[in-house]
Homo-oligomer: 343 residues x 2
């Protein structure tokens, strides 16, 4: 049967101050009125019932995940973050134990997709393929701009019906290479959405990352052994090494909404180019991204290209061009006796 | 006997969002932990008892003035603002009725002074002079920088004991003229602090602005006639025309703290030049003026020379160089159906 595994362990630091350790990006309503994990679940609900959805998260976020997804029956709580390879292995072993013939889609909790209808068609066909064949499917998103914050996958031989063999995974490129990739038409974004059956993923782990698989499989308590596992991504540990990787034709929009300025790709701008969520008054203020809580207004005078985010206990101001460095602010706060509470 | 008249009718729009109509700059703790009007009263308390202090304010601010100055016995409430001439005339007539031999100092409620000891000496000597002679004293502040936001008064013949005849009042000059004024040593800032006895101010009004004086003096109810009075400053209506104006040697620091960047003249800066009231975390952030309420932190990344002010229901961001234009924001808010509540 089909299962969905949602990876929801990210810290979402680049969305501070809205995102906090106990309620990071995936548990926040960033783009729509539902939180990103709620959107992720809603997107796949027509394909898989709640009873076959698994969420992997951490101790800090677990309570909020339960609250946001009241029907959830399978919640795996990592005692420490170990990147996606241990997470995928644990989820795969957990699902296989309940359903040895399971086919599963592994999805990040924090991406935004507009064309949900097309997304469901692609995901369904990938689940169908993985039910018939022992392959590792990655959904390759059509690259619509030369993004340097995503990994890419190069297409190999077409397999028909919207699938290709994967030829090569490429880490985040520089702008020049990203432009080549987009121009060539041969590359797709590797969006971290994977589909495989229980047998195929077991075999792949046993071949390419046997220690992770065996440690989890033979543990009396997975949380107890988890801290010993290697911190490594499933891309690096398995996908890049496997020879049975298939790319599905992800011809829908997809955005991991990686920082505050990314909001501008999803929300309408006012006449001066300001993208606003909340109450905003601008005087000679243009091209800003402004987020404020209900009941609180932001007024900007004579500023351009800023990110301004107000929450109950903290406000952030930075240029859009520096938005990736919000992590440095979070780091500074974490190291501060008084600031620690805001992380 | 000596009286103090405190003019507290300003709207303080340049200190929005802290300053609001019902609680503007003079009723806010801008520089110290006490509000500016509380500081003004504390400054003169050793000279004049509470029973001889008069505050002139407006309807919106009256309740808060009473709250902040619990011992106050004389509160004049202007039904509409008419600038300082009607205000001075009303206060003078009010005081003269209770004490025909009164000597009074008229002081704005919203200036900051560090050297309070010296201030008291100067004010005392001005009150003494005005008790002996029918003159109009303005306290001329030693000009320590070529300010273009203040009016100036040119010194005439020295009268001895720290007084000069006033030679000429000059409106706010441009920078070049302000620099000349400072270099010459002949000019002082006209700080809007005046001292006179009841007879002298009555005579001056009767000579230079008789309509204002007579309307107030003969009114059954001053508030009823107040809206009919000319909107004019006491400088323009009386001081600039009178030939018995004396300048006192205001050789203490004085600052009307005209906008948010002026805070930098009174609060210490951190290593990066940020002037902060409240909780602030800066990463590559320099020379900003940051004000935040207790319990709320402001984090700034990669920004310079900004004013950032957080209050419970509104946050302002603007370059320091634009801080005078905060009035435009207030205007925009006042015209907005939703924003109106924030003014």
């Amino acid at each position: 049967m089909n299962w969905i595994v949602i990876m929801a362990g990210g810290s979402g630091e680049r969305f501070w101050p809205l995102s906090r350790r106990a309620q990071p990006k995936q548990l926040q309503a960033i783009v729509t009125k539902r939180t990103m994990i709620q959107e992720t679940v809603a997107r796949v609900r027509p394909l898989v019932p709640m009873a076959r959805m698994v969420v992997v998260t951490n101790r800090e976020q677990a309570a909020m995940v339960r609250k946001q997804l009241p029907g959830l029956r399978h919640l795996l709580i990592e005692p420490v973050g170990r990147n996606t390879a241990p997470c995928c292995a644990w989820a795969a072993a957990y699902v296989a134990q309940r359903d040895p013939a399971a086919v599963m889609a592994v999805l990040p909790a924090d991406a935004h997709i507009n064309d949900v209808a097309r997304y469901r068609v692609v995901l369904s066909s990938a689940l169908d393929l993985a039910a018939r064949r022992d392959v590792l499917v990655t959904i390759g998103i059509r690259a619509t701009r030369p993004a340097t914050s995503y990994g890419y996958v190069r297409l190999g031989e077409p397999l028909g019906a919207g699938f290709w063999q994967a030829r090569q995974f490429v880490e985040k490129p520089d702008l020049a290479r990203a432009e080549e990739f987009v121009a060539s038409g041969e590359y797709r974004w590797n969006a971290g959405m994977f589909v495989w059956n229980a047998t195929a993923i077991r075999a792949a782990f046993l071949k390419h990352a046997p220690k992770i698989w065996k440690t989890i499989r033979h543990a009396k308590s997975v949380p107890a052994v988890y801290p010993k596992l290697e911190k490594i991504s499933v891309d690096y540990a398995v996908m890049e090494k496997a020879d049975n990787v298939v790319v599905a034709n992800g011809d829908f929009d997809w955005d991991d909404v990686g920082d505050w300025p990314a909001l501008a790709r999803h929300l309408p701008a006012d006449a001066a180019g300001n993208v606003v969520r909340g109450e905003f008054y601008g005087v000679d203020a243009s091209d800003n991204v402004v987020v404020s809580l209900p009941g609180h207004a932001v007024a900007a005078l004579g500023v351009k290209d800023l990110v301004i985010v107000h929450t109950r206990d903290a406000t952030l101001i930075c240029p859009k061009s520096e938005a990736q460095r919000v992590r440095d602010v979070v780091k500074k706060l974490a190291e501060d006796r008084q600031g620690r509470r805001l992380v």
